[in-house]
């Protein structure tokens, strides 16, 4: 109001001194204060980001290491033959691998004629996943039957925990998961160089398992990949087409206003509602299988669609109208103007919006819970119709498991998911730079 006074009455203006020091000081300090607030806000955000990453990484990095024991396993021929004395598929399938592993461990430790309790204790050092490991070695080359082969066998989660320091050796034996004897064996194996922490490829290849050492993200990664593919194939073309039509062709009337408001509303609908919708339409009405990544992809497409439409419309609107006029002016049809000029210029924005939509979909959990993607899936899905899980859902499932090994895996899986998100965001930045053109 003071300024208005000065403008309306020249007398007041002349009475006020130019560069009034008090006024100047007040303005400068207000500016500095504002900048300080902004800086403080950024610092707070950064602080929490650092806390988040420190906690995830410090708890999760061990998930990328897995203890294995190198043992010379004697593939005794009698284990793999049926009653006739021939090697058969059935016999290989039913062989007592736990015994083979235990015998090998017993030899390595130099224990002769162990009693039943000792046998049980030895067995506890090895993972239950060694069945598959040994069987895979045999299936790779059946001529190995009858020979003694060195194999890195997975150690049990308790051994793994002991090596990673999450089992405290000072805890009294009665309350410790491994007794003194087992600890001594583990130390001996480490000393001999037989027990090592190796990079945990299994984290990326294994499917679901009740043992943490044989549980991995394999199924979840494939499931998430299928879903991203379906979102990219369904949501992107539909979203871009809808946005281009609304922006360039649709008449401006009440109907398009209603559509526009509803698209914006859809973007704000809680994601679990999309899960319910998918359950009702895709599974109950259309009869698509539960737990399939196809259904997950379709639900995530519905969820991503508003994001893609809004981002594309914004990108199209940001193309200067002069370009459109130039194209129409030389006699391009409206569609030619759109495809030859407007869309290429809007492409960086569309790509960014689309990838942000995909990233959102990749991290989405709630709607997938509604359509059964929380299944215990051991085998890799081959098609999108097969049962699968998704990365965030796998994190959720591991987080609710009791075993100690799953805690680090939860964090490890979170790191993997974050890595995917980073890569996709980096791709968005790169693509935007790559396709950006000046006018």
């Amino acid at each position: 109001m003071a300024t208005q006074d000065t403008i309306s009455s020249p007398a007041a203006a002349s009475s006020r001194q130019l560069n009034d020091p008090a006024l100047l000081r007040r303005r400068y300090s207000a500016e500095r204060r504002f900048q300080a607030y902004g800086l403080a806000a950024i610092m707070v955000a950064l602080f929490f980001l650092v806390v988040l990453f420190t906690s995830i990484i410090s708890q999760g990095w061990t998930a990328f290491l897995q203890s294995s024991i190198r043992l010379d396993v004697t593939l005794d021929k009698s284990e793999f033959t049926d009653a006739d004395g021939n090697v058969s598929d059935k016999a290989i399938r039913l062989a007592n691998y736990a015994k083979l592993g235990r015998d090998a461990l017993q030899n390595a430790l130099g224990i002769e004629k162990p009693g039943r309790p000792e046998k049980r204790k030895l067995k506890e050092l090895l993972s239950r996943g060694i069945d598959t490991q040994i069987r895979d070695v045999i299936e790779a080359d059946r001529s190995r039957i009858g020979q003694t082969v060195p194999i890195w066998l997975l150690a049990s989660d308790n051994v793994d925990a002991l090596l990673k320091g999450s089992i405290d050796r000072d805890v009294p034996e009665a309350r410790r998961q491994l007794d003194n004897r087992q600890v001594a064996w583990v130390d001996k194996l480490v000393e001999e160089g037989r027990l090592e922490k190796k990079f945990n490829w299994g984290l990326f290849t294994f499917g679901a398992s009740s043992q943490p050492e044989t549980a991995g993200l394999g199924v979840a990664i494939i499931g998430s990949f299928f879903m991203m593919l379906i979102v990219a194939l369904v949501a992107v073309p539909i979203g871009v087409a809808a946005a281009a039509y609304l922006e360039e062709f649709a008449p401006k009337n009440t109907l398009t206003d209603i559509i526009e408001v509803n698209i914006n509303n859809l973007a704000a609908v809680p994601s679990i509602v999309f899960g319910l919708l998918g359950l009702a339409i895709f599974i109950n009405f259309m009869g698509l299988p539960r737990s399939a990544s196809l259904v997950g992809g379709l639900v995530l497409s519905l969820m991503t669609l508003p994001t893609v439409i809004i981002a594309t419309r914004a990108a199209i609107r940001a193309v200067p109208p002069s370009i459109r006029e130039a194209a129409l002016g030389v006699g391009a049809s409206r569609m030619q103007a759109l495809f030859h000029h407007v869309l290429p210029l809007a492409l960086p924005g569309i790509l960014t919006g689309t990838i942000i939509g995909l990233v959102q979909a990749l991290g989405e959990t709630a709607p997938l819970l509604m359509i059964g993607l929380v299944a215990f899936v051991v085998d890799y899905p081959v098609t999108p119709m097969d049962p699968a899980t998704a990365l965030p859902v796998q994190i959720y499932m591991w987080a609710s498991s009791a075993e100690r090994g799953f805690v680090e895996r939860t964090m490890g899986a979170t790191l993997v998911l974050l890595l995917f998100l980073f890569v996709m965001n980096a791709a968005a930045v790169y693509l935007r730079r790559r396709f950006e053109r000046k006018w």
């Binding site: 370009i323 006029e325 030389v330 006699g331």
Partner: protein, 270 residues
């Protein structure tokens, strides 16, 4: 206001008849929704000459210009009534293809707006979409011819594949003129083509207009009365949606008849 509304359209002063006009307008009115922007414009534009449309801002001169290539069609709420003919053909005939029309009636805009593509592609775009050329040689020829006519060839012949947006403002505007010429139009509309240019670039564009006049019918909207005097054969003065006075440029500037024209030209308003 009452005074304006009371002015009947027929009161427009037409100082000199045009024989064999290129573009004829009869009772052209333009509405933007409820609002009428142009009232009963009757104007005959001579062939192979420059016709300037002058008047204060908001007088409807750009609106009228954009009727000639039906650019107003792109504004959903715009409605045009009356009749505009080019060479006797009604351009608002529902059977007429507006895309063809815009190839025949080129347009140059206020702000240079080359496509963010190479100089070559800027020129080649129109001929390509209209199928004006058969092969690469034809296209090369058409591009160089268009650039030559626009007086830009010598400046850009070595960098045809560099972006058109990298040129200076004046060069960009001549590029836009070359682009308009490339679709072989016979009418070129220019909407304040020099308002974003410096005096030297302006002089070049004006020189170009005088050259192009021999082969094209040019209509130019301008705020600069000096420019209208330098380039235009005919001048039409617009005021608040009415075409007030139309005649030879000399007549309009030296001896305006209407009070409003006099006020504008002698700098009493606008």
């Amino acid at each position: 206001m009452d005074q304006q509304v009371a002015t009947p359209a027929s009161s427009a002063i037409i100082r000199s008849a045009v024989d064999d006009p290129k573009v004829t307008s009869k009772d052209v009115c333009v509405f933007y929704g409820e609002k009428q922007a142009l009232f009963d414009v009757n104007l005959d534009v001579p062939r192979n000459a420059v016709t300037a449309l002058i008047g204060p801002s908001g007088c409807g001169k750009s609106t009228y210009l954009r009727c000639i290539n039906r650019m107003n069609d792109t504004i959903p709420i715009a409605r045009v009534t009356g009749e505009i003919k080019i060479d006797g053909q009604d351009i608002y005939d529902p059977d007429l293809d507006v895309v063809e029309l815009r190839a025949r009636v080129g347009m140059v805009f206020q702000k240079p707006n080359p496509f963010p593509k190479s100089i070559f592609d800027n020129i080649a775009y129109g001929p390509r979409i209209h199928g004006l050329v058969r092969d690469k040689t034809d296209l090369d020829e058409l591009v160089s011819e268009s650039l030559e006519r626009a007086g830009l060839w010598n400046e850009v012949k070595d960098r045809l594949h560099e972006p058109g947006t990298g040129l200076s403002g004046g060069q960009q505007q001549r590029l836009c003129i070359a682009r308009a010429i490339a679709t072989k139009p016979d009418v070129i509309l220019m909407d304040e083509p020099c308002s974003a240019l410096d005096p030297i670039a302006t002089a070049k564009v004006e020189e170009l207009m005088l050259e192009l006049r021999q082969n094209y019918t040019i209509m130019i909207v301008t705020h600069s009365m000096a420019q209208a005097q330098r380039v235009a054969d005919k001048t039409a003065f617009f005021h608040i949606g009415y075409m007030v006075e139309y005649g030879d440029t000399k007549q309009i500037f030296e001896d305006p008849q209407d009070k409003r024209t006099q006020d504008y030209i002698f700098g009493r308003f606008g």
